[in-house]
Symmetry: D3
Subunit: 261 residues, 6 copies
C-alpha cells in the first residue's frame, strides 16, 4: 500500500512521514473532459499527464495528487471548440480557485514544492492565475518558500531528431496536435484499449485565419473534432514521447528544486 506514488492511495500517516522527510515534491495533473475525435476517449487530457506524473514521481521520489478532471473551455484552434457534446468545461475562475485551494492546503501540510502538470492547452493561463493568487495569499500567511514548477508535458518534446521521428513528413505545430499523432500515440502506448485506430478520420490539417470568432463557427473545425490526422500514430511513437517526457521532466524538476539526482 505505501509503495504507491498516488497520494490518494496512501494513509495520512504515510503521507505525513513522506512530507516530514523534507524535499517532498507533489505533482498535480490538470486535465479536461474533452472530445478527442472519433477514435479516442474523452479523458485523454487527464490520463496522459497522470501517467507522466506517475512515471516521473517513481523516478524522482515524488507524490501525485488526484488530477483535476475538468479544464478550461476548449478553444477552436487548439481543441476544436467548446461546442462539442461531451466536452465539459469549467469557467476560468473555477479552475483558478481549484488550483489556489489545493496549493493552500499543501502549504498547510508542510509541502513546499509543487509541479503543475498540464494536459490541456487551454488550462495554462488559469493555472498560472491560480498559482499567483495562492502564492500571494501564502505570503500573507508568512509562507514565502513555496515553489511551483508549471509545465505542459508536450513542451519537453523539443529535440528536432525526436520530432523528426514523430513527424517524418514535417511537424505542423503543437496547436493542431489535438487528437492527432502525438496524443494518439501516447494513448496507444499507455491505454490502447481506449483508442480505436480504425475510427481515425484522415483529414488534412486544420487551418484557421489569424483571429478567433465568437460564437464559434463549428464548420471551421474538421468534423471529427481532431485538428490533424492521427493516421500515422503508433505505439512506438507513444513510447518514444513518453520516454522523452519522463526523462526531460524528471531532470527539469530535479534541477528546479535542487534535488539530488
Amino acid at each position: 500500500m505505501s509503495k504507491s506514488v498516488f497520494i490518494g492511495e496512501l494513509t495520512w500517516k504515510e503521507y505525513e512521514a513522506k512530507v516530514a522527510e523534507g524535499n517532498c515534491v507533489a505533482m498535480l495533473p490538470v486535465g479536461a473532459l474533452e472530445q478527442h475525435g472519433h477514435h479516442m476517449c474523452m479523458n485523454v487530457d487527464v490520463l496522459l499527464p497522470t501517467a507522466v506524473c506517475q512515471r516521473v514521481a517513481e523516478r524522482i521520489g515524488a507524490l501525485v495528487l488526484p488530477g483535476i478532471q475538468y479544464g478550461y473551455k476548449s478553444q477552436q484552434k487548439s481543441g476544436g471548440g467548446n461546442h462539442f457534446p461531451g466536452t465539459t468545461s469549467l469557467d476560468g475562475a473555477t479552475l483558478t480557485h481549484t488550483v489556489q485551494d489545493i496549493i493552500r492546503e499543501l502549504a498547510r501540510h508542510g509541502v513546499r514544492r509543487l509541479v503543475m502538470m498540464n494536459g490541456h492547452y487551454e488550462n495554462s493561463m488559469f493555472i498560472v492565475e491560480g498559482i499567483d493568487l495562492a502564492l500571494r495569499e501564502l505570503r500573507y500567511a508568512g509562507v514565502d518558500d513555496f515553489k511551483v514548477v508549471a509545465l505542459s508535458y508536450w513542451d519537453f518534446v523539443r529535440d528536432p531528431q525526436v520530432i523528426g521521428r514523430l513527424y517524418p513528413d514535417g511537424f505542423l505545430g503543437w496547436d493542431i496536435e489535438h487528437g492527432g499523432v502525438f496524443e494518439t500515440s501516447l494513448m496507444l502506448a499507455l491505454y490502447p484499449q481506449l483508442v480505436d485506430l480504425d475510427k481515425v478520420v484522415d483529414h488534412p490539417p486544420a487551418t484557421f485565419p489569424p483571429y478567433d470568432v465568437f460564437p464559434v463557427i463549428p464548420e471551421r473545425t474538421p468534423a471529427p473534432g481532431t485538428l490533424s490526422s492521427a493516421k500515422t500514430a503508433s505505439r512506438e511513437k507513444g513510447e518514444l514521447i513518453l520516454s522523452v517526457c519522463v526523462s526531460g521532466i524528471s531532470a527539469a524538476v530535479r534541477e528546479a528544486f535542487d534535488l539530488a539526482t
Copy 2:
C-alpha cells in the same frame, strides 16, 4: 471501448449517440481527499461513490462522469477536522461553482437527468447550492426540464435488519462512521489492497459536545483520525452494503426519472 459506463472512456460520438437516445442519466460522484485513519487510503470518498455509480449505471443504463476529486473542508464531528496532513479541501464556493459549471455543460449536451452521488458528508450543502445556482441559470437560458437527484449513498442503508447485521452491538449514527465499519467494509469489498486492517486503531466511538469550536481543538478527534473503530469491518459487510446501496439507488433513480425498470 463503447461498453464503458464511464463518459471519460467514450468517444464524443458514442456519448452523443447515447444522449440522443433520450432519457440519458448522467451520474456525478463527488468525493474528497481526506484522511481516513491509519488503515485506509485518502481517496475513499472518491472511490466509493464512483464504484456505486458504476454499478448503478450498469444496472440502469446510465453514464458516469469523472468524479470531483476534492471536497469541502472536513469537519471535526463528521470527518475528524480539516487539520490533518493529507486532507486537501476546497473552499465552499469552489465546489459549488464546479457543480454549477458541470451542470451547465451537461445541459448544453442535451442531458436533462443528473444524479449527484455524494461520498463526503461535508459536501452536501455546497452541492445543493451548486445545483440551485445551475438550475436557476438554466431557467434564464430557457431550460426548465433539467432534473437532479442528489443523494449520499449511505442514506440508502436504512433497513434495520441490515443495520443490525452491520452493527450487531448497536449503531451509533452515521456521523461517527468516518473511517469506521461502514467505509472500511466497503473498501474491503472493493479495494482490499488499499486497506490494512492490522493498522486499525481500536478506539471507543468519538463523543463530542453539542457545539463546534473554531479553530478546531485537535485533541477532540481520536488520534488516528477515525471517529469509530473499524475493527469489526469485513468484506462480507462491504458486499452487503454495496448490494443494498446499488439496488436501492437504482430503484430510486428509476423512480425519480420515470425510467422503465
Copy 3:
C-alpha cells in the same frame, strides 16, 4: 440604557468599555425569513435564537449582536423547501460573507470570543464556511486567538428524559421538527401572540425518500409547510426547552471560553 445585553442598544463607549474588560463574549443569532406553517409567523428562526442569546447573555455577561435576518435556502426535508411564498433566502455566498465581515469587524474592536447561535438548520455549513474564511483572514492580519463557538440551540436538548416529556409518543428526529412541537412550544412560551394554535394543521409526520430532487416536488411537503404536527405544542413545553437550552448553552460557552462560572 447600558443594562441591555443587545449591542445595538449600547453606545459605542459602553461597548468599548465592555470589550476593554477582557473576556467579552459576543453572540450572533443567525436566522431566516421562512414559512413555518399556517399557525406561526415567518421570523421564528430569528426570534428564537435571539431570545436564547438574550437569556444566555444575561446569565454569563455576554453581548448580543443584531441577528442575521435572512438565511440559506429552505430545504424540503428540513424546512419544507424554498418554493413557498414568504420564504426569502440568501445565496450561500451572501450568508458566508456576511458572517466573515462581521467577524473581521469584531476582531478590529478587540473581541476574541464569538458564539454563532443558529436558528435555521440550512444555515449551518455556510456559517462554518464564513467562520473558516474569517479566521483564515485574521491569521493573515496576525490575529490567531479569535475563537468561535458555533451551535444550533436545539442540539442542546439531548436529555432523553426531556425528550420524553416533549414527545411522550416518541421522538421522530430533529429533521422533521420544522414548525412542529418544538418550535411552536418555544414560540408559545416567548411570543404567544405570534402563534395561532387553532390554525395548526394536524398532519402525519412528513416522510421522504433517502434522496433529494431538484427542482423540488412541492407535493412532497405537507400542504401547510410544517413537517410534523404542532398539535401537542404547549407553553409549558416551550418553557422546558428554553430552560434546558439556556442552561446548557450557558455552561457550554463558559466551558469553551474558560469563563468563571
Copy 4:
C-alpha cells in the same frame, strides 16, 4: 396576528393572500450597526428607517421586510469613519448581494413593487448596485415589471420652513447630521429610552477638507463620533420630522406605484 405590517409577523398564508390581492408594496429598511456618539445607541440606522417604514406601511397598506442590520463602512465625512469600536460594517459586495438576493425572492413570491428605505448614508450606492444586478437578472428570467423605489428618508425633509424649525440657527447640511439634531430628535420621539441627552457632547460642527484620506485620520472626527452637536434635539422636532417623512414618503410611494390614495 394578521394585522401586523411586518412580514416576519405574518404566516405565509397571510402573506400569500396579501400578495395575491395585487399591488402589494414591500418595504425594506436598510440600516447599519454604527456608533452614534456618546448619547445614542448603535442601531439608530436600523430603528429609524424601520419606524418610518412601519408608519408608511400602515398608511398605504404596504408590508415591511426584516431590516438589513449591517451596512456599508462608515465614512469619515458622513458617519465619523469606520475605525470606531462597535461600528460593524459589511464589504460593499456583501450588501449588494443581500439586496439582490432579497429582490430575487420577492419576485418569486409575485411581488413587483419594492421600496428600499435607507437609513445609513454610506449604503446608497451599494443598494443601487444590488437593485441593478437584481433587475438585470430578473429580465433574464422574463420578469420586466419589477419596480423599485429607492430613497433615504431624510431626503424628504426639504421644506425650508421645516428645516427652519429644526435648525433655527441655520442648517449646515445632511452630511454632518450624523448623530446630530436630526437623528437624535427622531430617536427621542420614537425610542427615548435609547437616548441619554445628558451625554451629548456639545461640539462645533465637524469641518473637513475637500478630500478623503485613507487610512482615516481619526483626529479629524470629533471625539464623541458625532459630526454636529445634538444639543438642540427634542422630541417635538422628532415628531415633526417623522410626520414630514411619513406623509412625504407615503405620497411618493403612492405616486411612484400608481396606488389609489
Copy 5:
C-alpha cells in the same frame, strides 16, 4: 522622453528612479464613458481629471497613471441615467477590483502615496471600497504605510466668489452639473475641438423627486442628457475652474502627504 509626468510615457528605469527618490506621489484619474449632452464628447470624465492630474503633477512633481476609462453606472440624478446609448459602464465590483489591483501593484513598486482623482460622480463609493480592500490586503502583506488621498476635482471649487463668477444667476448644486456650465467650460478651456456650443440645448435645470425609481424613467432626464444648460459656459470660466482646481489640489496633496512646497 523622461520629462513626461505620465507613467505610461516613461521607461521602467525612469519610473524606478523616480520611485527610489522617495516621496513619489502617483495620481490615478478615474473616469467614465458617458453621454454628456448633444454638444460634448463622451470621454469628458476621463479627459478632465487627467488634465487636472497632469497640471498638479507638473506642479508638485508627481506622476500620472493611465486613467481608468470606464466608470460606474450613470445615475439619473447625477448623470442622466444609464439608459443612453454610448454610456458604457462597469459593474461596481469590476471598478472596485480595478482600483484594488492597481494599488497592490503600486505598493509592490515601492510607491506609498496615491491620489485617486475622480472625474465621474458615481464612481466615488466603488473607489472607496477598492481603496479599503487594497489597504486591508496590504496590511496582510505587512505594508501599513500606504496612504491614499481620494477626491473629486470639482469639490475644490468651494470659494463663494468663484462660484459667483461661474454662476452669476445662482448655483444650483453639483448634482445637476452633468454636462452643464462647469464641465463644458473646462472642456472649452482644454479641448475646445470636442465641444460644439451650437448644439447646446438650453433647457431649465432638471428637477427630481427625492427618490429614485428603477428601472429608470427616461422621461425624467432632459432629452439631451444634460441636467442643466451649458449655455453660459465659456473658455474663461473653464480657465478659472482649472486654475482653482489645480492650485487647490496641489496644496491639498502637499499637505496630505507632508510634501515640501
Copy 6:
C-alpha cells in the same frame, strides 16, 4: 468633431446615429502598463493596438472604444515577468469582468459586432473568458446575434517575405518579441518620441527552459526586461508592419462580419 473614429470623441447622438445605420463595428484595444526595456515607454501595449484600431476603423468605417489600459500579469517568457517596477497588472478576473461589462453595454446600445484588438500577449485567455461570459449572459437576455472577432494584431504578420524583411537573420518566434524589433519598429513609426534607440541593450535572445517557475527567478530575464534586442528596429520596418496589420485586419474584419469592401 463627428469625424473621429474614437467613440469617446463623439457625442452620444453621433454614436447613436452611427449604430442606427446598422452593421456598426466597435473595436476595443486591450493593452497593459508594462516595462518594455530601457529604451521604450511602458504604455506600448496600449498605444500600438489603439493605433492599429484607428487605422482599421478609418478604412472600414468602424468605431474605436477607449482602450483597456491595464492588462494581465506579465509572464516571464512573453513579457519578462511581473516583478519589474512599473509593470502594473490586473488579476485575471478583473480583466475578464471588464470585457464582460463592456460587451453587455455595447449590446444594450444595439451594437452586434465587436473586434477585441489585443496588444499584450498575456491578456488573451482572460479576454476569451470575458467574451464567453458576456455572450452567455446575452443569450439569457435573448440576444444571440452578438459576434466578436478576437485577435492579437501581430498574428497578422505571417507572410514569410515580410518576416524575412523584418528579421533578415532569422525569426526566433513571437514569444521573445517583447520589447524587440517588432514592437520597437512600430513605435518608431508611430511614436518616435517615446523611443530612445540609444538606450537599447543589445543582448542575445532570451532562452528559457520548457517550464515556468513561480515565484519567478528574475535572473532568467535579460536585465533590461526585453527578451530580444531591438537593435535592428527601424521606422521603415514599423511602417511595413503597420501596413501589413492594417490591411490584413481590415480584410479579416470585413470578411468575418460580411461587410462590403
